[in-house]
Subunit: 108 residues, 2 copies
């Protein structure tokens, strides 16, 4: 099982519409991924380690998938469509990481 993490770095003055991201963008990507994505998570950055400090990421999400090949095969035809939608909620260029899920959830 793998996880694709998409993270939006914080900087002063950046624009990010969390409601659009959560209600429109993420469900759209999930529809495009279909069965290649088991589920996703969405986070809104609050702070860094110190209370009141700036978060590293304004927002981030994880797509939990059976394999990176399935993820890439599913999204490949829609990369332009997804990219075009990003301008609807942010001016941040996201960074992306692929991880192996070592512990999906510790209480499972």
């Amino acid at each position: 099982m793998i996880k694709v993490s998409v993270m939006y770095p914080y900087a002063a003055g950046v624009r990010f519409d969390h409601a659009y991201y959560r209600e429109r963008h993420m469900p759209m990507v999930k529809r495009l991924l279909g069965a290649a994505c088991l589920y996703y998570t969405v986070d809104k950055g609050i702070s860094g380690a110190a209370p009141g400090s700036d978060p590293i990421y304004v927002a981030k999400c994880d797509f939990i998938c059976m394999s990176i090949e399935a993820y890439r095969a599913a999204l490949n035809p829609y990369l332009q469509e997804i990219w075009d939608d990003i301008a609807n909620y942010t001016d941040i260029q996201p960074v992306l990481q692929v991880s192996e899920v070592e512990v999906e959830r510790s209480d499972a």
Copy 2:
């Protein structure tokens, strides 16, 4: 519900013992957190956006908690103990982010 993400930035030549982290360190922190932490996740970095590229983080974890106050109150007496254990599995200084959980899991 909040999420504390602890992330270990990749750099060439860094040391990270994923087995120790997964089997020893993370269960220890969960024991110290007690009921303040609902569950945690553990990831091992594979790559960045491009296949074969370096990951942003060698490893990362999320602690899913009811509140940041409960997290801080639970860990505060043990910060030195936790910090001392980090040297047992890595020479990386982790970065930390607190997030609000907007979608815990999309299929729930």
